[in-house]
């Protein structure tokens, strides 16, 4: 098997709601498999609406939650292998970027203290002067410098600037993988693109792969190489970003795309709004069937299996949209 940077194998996470005995089960992540190759750095987007299990995935990759079923492997090392777990190595390899830059940094601490702590405590820099050089270099690559950051508090920066510092902090350890949870959701439209462009630049410059978690398909399309769509905990579509966006195979991906407020074509169709989440999580047949415009009886009876449309594209649907199927056949 070829080297994988990150391999997520049939991972599930189940939460219990309510009491220990009477409580209901909620399958937040349901049998998801994804992987990232270690050769070329890539940006993988995980998209879906709120409550689709994006954040649970994020926390499992960061080792904050333990998967109930399945396993995650980073650089050939399994998460379930407790003896071989080296917390320092893990923190050097995987770094997070959080959603709200104002909550990432404590309002009472100087911003640069986070940078120094990362550099010194994780043992990347041996001395303060070495750390300063390293931090300045990293800040430069995100368009800032140590001189502008030193001694300042978070309130003295704009959201966009704080997010840049957040990215710089993650880069200090020279990680192999950066996980960003909705990094541009709290940022102004005019600054969004600067941050997203930064991801592209950094990917090649530092040879780091990204997992970009978002509900904003337009930036996901712009920035990513691969897209994985989640719906109520299930991975429903995966493939190269361009192919998915041009020819979505799953009706849900199509729905997500139509919901983007884009400039150029106006909305005309009404769309079906999601029902209460708990109900949809508990469905034993295709979870999207109640909202799906193409649903048949088959969809309402059993759950579909993952079908491969081409080598790099898979979809969880009985009736993938025809265009995509034709496209895949031509490819074969």
């Amino acid at each position: 098997m070829s080297e994988k940077l990150l391999e997520i194998k049939n991972v599930s996470k189940i939460f219990r709601i309510g009491g220990m005995l009477r409580g209901k089960k909620l399958v937040a992540v349901d049998d998801v498999s994804l992987d990232i190759d270690s050769g070329k750095p890539v940006i993988l987007s995980i998209v879906g609406e709120s409550g689709c299990g994006k954040s649970t995935m994020y926390k499992m990759i960061l080792r904050l939650y333990k998967p109930d079923k399945g396993d995650i492997t980073l650089c050939g090392k399994s998460y379930s292998d407790k003896k071989g777990y080296d917390p320092l190595r893990f923190r050097l390899d995987v770094q997070p970027i959080f959603q709200n830059p104002y909550e990432t940094f404590s309002a009472r601490k100087r911003v640069d203290s986070y940078l120094f702590n990362t550099a010194l405590r994780l043992g990347i820099a041996k001395s303060r002067s070495e750390a300063e050089r390293l931090i300045d270099e990293t800040l430069c690559s995100v368009g800032m410098s140590l001189a502008t950051v030193k001694g300042k508090y978070p309130a003295q920066f704009s959201g966009g600037e704080l997010q840049r510092i957040s990215i710089a902090r993650a880069l200090i350890t020279r990680p192999k993988l950066i996980i960003a949870d909705e990094p541009v959701a709290a940022i102004d439209a005019s600054m969004k693109m600067n941050i997203v462009n930064l991801f592209k630049e950094i990917k090649d410059k530092y040879n780091v792969s990204f997992i970009y978690i978002t509900h904003d398909l337009s930036t996901a399309y712009y920035v990513s190489d691969y897209i994985a769509t989640l719906y109520r905990g299930c991975l429903i579509e995966y493939g190269p970003a361009k192919e998915i966006m041009d020819e979505p195979a799953h009706p849900y991906t199509e729905l997500l795309m139509n919901a983007i407020p884009r400039v150029g074509d106006k909305w005309n169709k009404e769309l079906v709004m999601p029902d209460t989440e708990e109900k949809e999580y508990a469905i034993s047949y295709c979870k999207f069937a109640p909202r799906c415009p193409y649903a048949t009886d088959e969809c309402r009876q059993k759950r579909p299996e993952m079908t491969f449309l081409s080598e790099s594209r898979k979809v969880l649907c009985f009736h993938p949209l025809i265009k995509a199927q034709a496209l895949a056949k031509e490819g074969k």
Partner: protein, 323 residues
């Protein structure tokens, strides 16, 4: 309709007054969705506060006024700043930012509905009759009437937002002010809510003022829009015209910064950041970030004037072309 006459507002601080809205002068007509766009800190929310007449310390109106006028059930009315609050809920309502956290979490929704419907409107109805009317209204908006028995914490963010909009429009007010109604929500729910707003507006034929920093939302929803920068309007006109041919360089940059599906070409955000309101630059406030700023731009403030019928722009370059 809403008429904004030479409105200037400022915030009182220890370091002196900070001017947040600078001499705004425009009209919002009946039967339209008017959009206000701009970056954070450009004065969008402050403008809405002035429109809704929640001018409380430290905010103050330095000059100018807002006039709300119209007709309800055949009787014309007119209120100006300071009096607008007398007609809250009846003729003007406000959907605040982060509306999901506005509802009282430990009160059933039916009590919150009853609280916000003025006594005059209920006349001799019993509570049950009013609630029946509310239930019918919720059904019209394709919301379940069972919601009335629920507590807000039982609902998802999108559902709460739709309930708030139902609450704000129940009295069929002439003006609905919505401040970033979909910011914290994902795209599918956002679309549902915006379509609901559009449908309501076309039924009630009233005015909706929609504040959002997402230009895509403005394109989809609004009829006319104004773009604010650092406390003043820089461009105002029909939404379609603005997107077809943005005249102010700031508008152009905002539109070009939008990522589009099907277009992977390199996009750039706007360089720099908006000026601090404590110490704004003399002349055009956009000049420090503008690619084609000249010496005139840095010294003189451009006039906000009509360059084409119904199209207002504040830019020296254009003004020269017109004159």
């Amino acid at each position: 309709m809403l008429k904004i006459e030479h409105l200037s507002t400022s915030y009182k601080t220890i370091d002196g007054n900070i001017r947040v809205i600078n001499d705004l002068n425009f009209e919002i007509y009946d039967n339209e969705i008017f959009g206000i766009a701009g970056e954070s800190g450009c004065g969008k929310t402050t403008l809405l506060k002035a429109l809704y007449d929640i001018v409380e310390f430290p905010l103050q109106i330095d000059s100018g006024r807002v006039i709300l006028s119209g007709e309800k059930n055949g009787t014309p009315f007119s209120y100006e700043s300071g009096k607008i609050r007398n007609t809250w809920w009846n003729n003007i309502t406000y959907v605040p930012q982060a509306a999901q956290s506005v509802l009282n979490p430990i009160m059933r929704l039916k009590h919150q509905f009853l609280d916000s419907i003025p006594k005059e409107d209920r006349k001799n109805e019993t509570e049950e009759q009013t609630l029946k009317r509310v239930a019918r209204y919720l059904e019209e908006l394709s919301l379940s009437p069972d919601l009335l028995e629920a507590f807000p914490f039982q609902l998802s963010g999108g559902m709460r937002q739709r309930v708030i909009i139902a609450l704000a429009t129940f009295m069929s007010p002439n003006v609905v002010l919505a401040d970033e109604p979909t910011t914290a929500l994902d795209v599918v729910v956002q679309r549902g809510i915006l379509m609901m707003l559009m449908r309501l507006q076309s039924q009630l034929k009233n005015t909706v003022v929609l504040v959002s920093h997402d230009m895509g939302v403005h394109y989809q929803v609004t009829h006319r829009m104004g773009i604010m920068y650092s406390g003043s309007l820089v461009e105002l006109g029909k939404t379609d015209d603005i997107f077809n041919e943005p005249l102010h360089p700031y508008t152009r940059m905002l539109i070009n910064a939008l990522p589009r599906v099907g277009d992977k070409s390199q996009k750039v955000g706007i360089p720099g950041r908006p000026p601090a309101l404590t110490n704004p630059p003399p002349g055009c406030r956009f000049a420090p970030r503008c690619p084609n700023a000249t010496e005139t731009c840095r010294q003189a403030v451009p006039v906000f004037q009509e360059v084409r019928p119904g199209r207002f722009v504040a830019c020296h370059k254009l003004n020269r072309e017109v004159v």
